[in-house]
């Protein structure tokens, strides 16, 4: 971003030298445990989220490995069906609610958003900390339920199974998720107000980095969708407690109503997971090809369009559920509306790369992986929005593969790209490049090995959530489990070298990637406690690489 700043020295783009002489930064100005647990600094809260979610991710991954181990053989020989059901429920609940939904907004978003718009903090720093504690309390409830006893309802809690027929800890889990919902709402609320009210002078809407647009769109969904799932889970809890038949047909209720209310939130929730990684990828593609995003306003508009459209397509999860055929056609047509802005994004990135100056640092490798997996995940969505084919694919492994391509291939790989990108800013240190590239490649290969066979086995008709399966599905399942091992190694590597680099990594300059946004050009690595010494004033569009490099010519010596 071309910026005028009156007193601070111009940023040295591309420099990997320490940009400042070891001054006070947000990491070292206070170091006690209490200073972390009571911090109001958005950067530290972002890191608190990062740590909490990494722990949750490892736990969710552990359950995933149990599932894949069981499915190597067709017979249910490794564990009981009850334990298997509890495992996939735990995997789903932890990964969806505790990892994927807050993943990018709460960690990278919290850290980057104020830096990117030139603010000293988010609008409500205290609320920001409260939302982390709410997350932890919700996690506490849910983990007690999932580990101490277990829940076997599936992460979707379909009624009347969850309300009437299960004797497991559904109530406790629902309570945990109800609490967790408020964490998501508070974060979304904070971000929207921050983006509206905290932008620095000159930071017009169309001068914001695209990651900020993505966070904005995500926050809209969090704000408007989450309350509905909260009240729905509350109703499930009340039904279990009081025996009122709000969703139980025996008592006059309608189980399909639960699905309507559940998916009204849970479909947009997919976009809470995928929109921020889409935004991160914009920053990566632009920075590592040194080109402005092709069609900036279209890209920003596409994010908002996805957020709005995501609310009007939910019933495509219910095509076989006894939905009226007319409603099914209506929702099928609407579902295609989200395909268009998603497509626009992919084409826009390709056009941005055209005639760029592409470097293959590890964040860019992740971004490539993201584009590839998101394209496959998005395109296979066509099978599921089309009525004629969805009937066959519904609730088979095809669906499992599709949403893992989007939510894991998309969200997690996008997150990893963003994390590597931001790492030098976060800790002022570079991670080791070779293992980072290895991990990016292993994750891409392992991911495809794991989930591509699931498309095939899903087309054969293998239903999801099956503890045992007919023999003819075995070979594809063995491929899938083998791929999961590769994928596991890919995820394990960053868990080792990233913490290592916090202490032993090479010192990073303020702008090692040659990025143009405020967070890179006008803050130290790591940033000072109040981010900016002086409020920056923005005068131009984002992503102006020509001015950055020609004016400073900082790279001439390297």
């Amino acid at each position: 971003m071309s910026t005028i700043i009156t007193s601070a020295p111009p940023a040295s783009a591309g420099s990997k030298d320490p940009g400042h002489g070891g001054g006070v930064d947000y990491l070292n100005h206070e170091t006690s445990i209490a200073s972390w647990l009571l911090t109001l600094d958005h950067k530290r809260i972002g890191i608190l989220y990062l740590v909490a979610m990494s722990a949750m991710f490892v736990l969710g991954g552990f359950y995933a490995s149990l599932i894949r181990a069981e499915l190597i053989t067709p017979k249910g020989d490794l564990m009981s069906s009850d334990f298997y059901n509890k495992s996939f429920t735990a995997h789903g609940v932890i990964m969806v609610f505790f990892v994927l939904i807050p993943l990018v907004p709460a960690s990278l978003g919290n850290f980057m958003l104020p830096l990117m718009i030139g603010a000293k903090d988010v609008a409500f720093p205290r609320l920001n900390l409260i939302s982390w504690y709410v997350y932890m309390i919700g996690a506490g409830f849910t983990l007690v339920a999932l580990i101490g006893g277990g829940v076997d309802s599936g992460w979707t809690f379909y009624t009347p199974l969850s309300t009437t027929y299960l004797n497991s800890n559904v109530l406790l889990t629902a309570t945990g998720l109800f609490i967790l919902g408020f964490s998501s709402i508070l974060t979304g609320l904070n971000f929207i107000v921050t983006i509206h009210r905290m932008r620095c002078p000159g930071m017009d809407w169309f001068r914001m980095p695209l990651f900020v647009w993505a966070l904005y769109a995500t926050s809209v969904i969090q704000l408007l969708g989450t309350p509905v799932i909260a009240i729905t889970l509350a109703l499930v809890g009340v039904e279990r407690l009081l025996g009122v038949g709000i969703f139980d047909p025996r008592l006059g209720g309608d189980p399909i109503l639960y699905q309507h209310l559940f998916w009204f939130y849970s479909h947009p929730a997919v976009y809470i997971m995928i929109l921020p990684p889409l935004g991160v990828t914009n920053e990566l593609i632009s920075t590592f090809s040194r080109k402005p995003i092709f069609g900036y306003s279209m890209m920003a508009g596409a994010s908002l369009a996805i957020a709005i459209f995501s609310f009007i397509v939910w019933a495509h999860h219910m095509f076989t559920s006894g939905l009226s055929p007319y409603a099914a056609m209506f929702f099928s047509l609407l579902t295609f509306s989200v395909a268009i802005p998603s497509g626009i994004k992919v084409f826009t990135w390709l056009a941005t790369l055209f005639r760029g100056s592409i470097s293959f640092d590890s964040p860019m490798l992740y971004a490539y992986g993201f584009i590839g997996l998101f394209t496959i995940g998005g395109m296979t969505g066509l099978f599921l929005s089309t009525l004629g084919t969805d009937i066959h694919f519904h609730d088979t492994y095809f669906v499992v593969a599709h949403f893992h391509y989007v939510m894991v291939g998309g969200a997690i790989v996008g997150f990893m790209g963003g994390l590597h990108f931001i790492w030098p800013k976060m800790f002022g240190r570079m991670y080791p490049e070779f293992p980072a590239r290895m991990s990016a490649i292993l994750i891409f290969v392992g991911f495809n090995l794991t989930f591509f066979p699931q498309f095939l086995v899903g087309y054969l008709g293998m239903p999801r959530r099956y503890h045992e399966y007919p023999d003819e599905f075995q070979v594809l399942n063995v491929f899938s489990s083998a791929g999961a091992t590769v994928l596991g190694v890919g995820y394990l590597l960053p868990l080792l070298y990233l913490p290592w680099s916090v202490f032993f990594g090479e010192k990073a300059g303020r702008n090692p990637w040659g990025a143009t946004t405020l967070d890179w050009t006008h803050t130290e690595s790591p940033p000072t406690p109040h981010n900016f010494e002086e409020t920056p004033v923005v005068t131009g569009e984002p992503y102006k690489y020509d001015t950055l490099f020609n004016k400073e010519s900082a790279l001439a010596g390297h």
Partner: protein, 110 residues
């Protein structure tokens, strides 16, 4: 200096009076049997009352376009939730099967 000049006191009292009158009106109309009209009338009056509260007590009459947009957005989502769900319930019992010769399906024919 004040951030916002306060509204005139009489507007609040006038608003209160209007809301009371509307409450009595909705109660009286509900006691009449209006048939299919009763719900639209009751909800219509409720919407007018809500608009009065939002516009004058909550000062949206003189607030920024952004506040209005926020309200519009939440109402839009509420409408989507209520109406789109209704597309299912309204069309559920419709006859998607063509009227067919069901004698063929009678038992004992095969």
């Amino acid at each position: 200096m004040s951030l916002h000049p306060p509204a005139k006191a009489w507007t609040y009292w006038a608003n209160f009076l209007a809301l009371c009158v509307l409450t009595v009106v909705t109660w009286l109309t509900a006691r009449m049997d209006l048939g299919a009209l009763s719900t639209p009338v009751a909800l219509g009056i409720a919407v007018i009352k809500a608009a009065l509260v939002v516009l004058f007590f909550m000062h949206v009459w003189e607030s920024t376009p952004l506040t209005k947009l926020v309200i519009a957005m939440s109402l839009f989502m509420l409408t989507v939730l209520l109406t789109f769900m209704f597309t299912d319930y309204m069309t559920r019992n419709y006859d998607v099967l063509p009227p067919a010769d069901h004698a063929a399906a009678a038992p004992g024919k095969h």
